[in-house]
């Protein structure tokens, strides 16, 4: 018991130290690398806290994709201007943050021993949800509306980036070793992605994790020059991005106007519909994330 507590304390201190170092180290490049390490340690923390779904999502999205995007952004950004906050701001911020920390510590302390009624409800309705993994049941059945809107958020991020009309990325000529590796990694990402998607119905995994892994495969292939440019103005690309939200909306509306309720799956069809939505969402997430990272931004106007 004590050894476990020691491990937890060490993990938390490490996370805090990494975060502080990330945010305050002198060199921006070091900060980014430390941030990626921070993301990986965070994934470990989620696993320690029993949130395997989240550990997978964090490793793939939080550390992986965000890391790639940060490094790409570092490459695009110019040298950092050495401006520091005026001492008055610094002092005020330190004061305010210490005050908040004390308040929050008092606030969270009593929460450790509370319990909530919802987990039991989830378990008692799990059989009716169509899937046997509780997190997937919450994401795609009990609180499916959140998930639908979340797909719209992803779409919006993509649309936002398109408004920038930034020039296309100049990809350097691929390195032969990268090409060789990516030939190996890409099929692996498809296998792992597919496995994660399939696993989601009964064990940790699911559309987001699978989508992120597939996107990582697509990004590696694109960087190695083995994929053609990913273009928004190619209609199947758009259909893939929009498919997740469109299918979800169709099922929701059909349920309301033809069946028993908004987002209510007809009895017996739950599992099929959830699987369909998950597949569409996975494709949509994978394509959106790939477009966000390595998409061609220059448009050929119709």
């Amino acid at each position: 018991m004590n050894a476990e507590l020691l491990f937890d304390a060490a993990l938390i201190l490490l996370l805090l130290a990494l975060a502080a170092a990330t945010l305050h180290t002198r060199k921006l490049y070091t900060a980014i690398v430390l941030f990626i390490v921070f993301g990986l340690m965070l994934a470990l923390t989620w696993a320690r806290l029993g949130a395997v779904d989240l550990a997978l999502a964090e490793a793939a999205i939080g550390a992986g994709l965000i890391g790639v995007m940060l490094l790409a952004a570092f490459g695009r950004s110019g040298p950092e201007a050495a401006t520091r906050a005026p001492p008055a701001v610094l002092a005020a911020s330190v004061l305010l943050c210490s005050l908040l920390l004390v308040l929050f510590a008092q606030g969270v302390w009593p929460l450790a021993n509370n319990s909530a009624p919802v987990p039991e409800l989830v378990n008692s309705h799990l059989a009716a949800s169509g899937v046997s993994h509780p997190v997937t049941a919450v994401l795609l059945n009990f609180r499916a509306w959140d998930t639908l809107l979340e797909l719209v958020v992803l779409l919006l991020a993509l649309l936002g980036v398109r408004q920038l009309h930034s020039p296309n990325m100049n990809l350097p000529a691929a390195w032969p070793l990268l090409q060789a590796w990516s030939r190996l990694l890409a099929p692996l990402s498809i296998v792992i992605g597919g496995y994660l998607l399939w696993r989601g119905s009964h064990a940790p995994g699911g559309a987001f994790q699978a989508g992120a892994v597939l996107a990582a495969g697509a990004i590696v292939l694109r960087l190695a020059g083995l994929l053609p440019p990913l273009r928004w103005n190619w209609w199947p690309m758009r259909a893939c991005v929009l498919g997740g939200v469109a299918l979800f909306m169709t099922i929701a509306a059909a349920g309301y106007w033809l069946g028993s309720g908004w987002l209510d799956y007809p009895p017996g069809l739950g599992k099929t519909l959830i699987t369909l939505i998950e597949i569409a969402a996975t494709v949509s997430i994978a394509v959106s994330l790939s477009l966000l990272v390595v998409g061609d931004t220059r448009e050929i106007t119709p």
Partner: protein, 96 residues
């Protein structure tokens, strides 16, 4: 003291660290990372709260999965927005 309390404290500490950096840093990439650290702190509080009971609360975990994707999408957008070449507006603002 259980390990849950430790993680709850760690979570709020991360949140506050992120806020401090957001208020004092000037570089866009650093500020984006600061917001992400704040997000990680929030998620750590939520995951620790989920882990305080057995069986683990799947609702909170699902909320964090959703929150993570939302945060990652917004971060991706912010990163592109921060680093897209923009002719600095001050010059032509003076001209008018």
């Amino acid at each position: 003291m259980s390990h849950i309390s430790l993680y709850l404290l760690g979570g709020v500490a991360l949140w506050v660290l992120g806020l401090h950096a957001l208020m004092t840093q000037r570089n866009a990439l650093r500020r984006i990372m600061a917001v992400n650290v704040m997000g990680s702190g929030t998620f750590m509080v939520m995951v620790a709260l989920a882990a305080r009971m057995t069986p683990i609360d799947p609702v909170l975990q699902a909320l964090v999965v959703t929150g993570l994707v939302v945060a990652a999408s917004a971060t991706a957008f912010a990163l592109r927005l921060a680093t897209t070449e923009s002719p600095v507006a001050d010059v032509d603002r003076e001209r008018e």
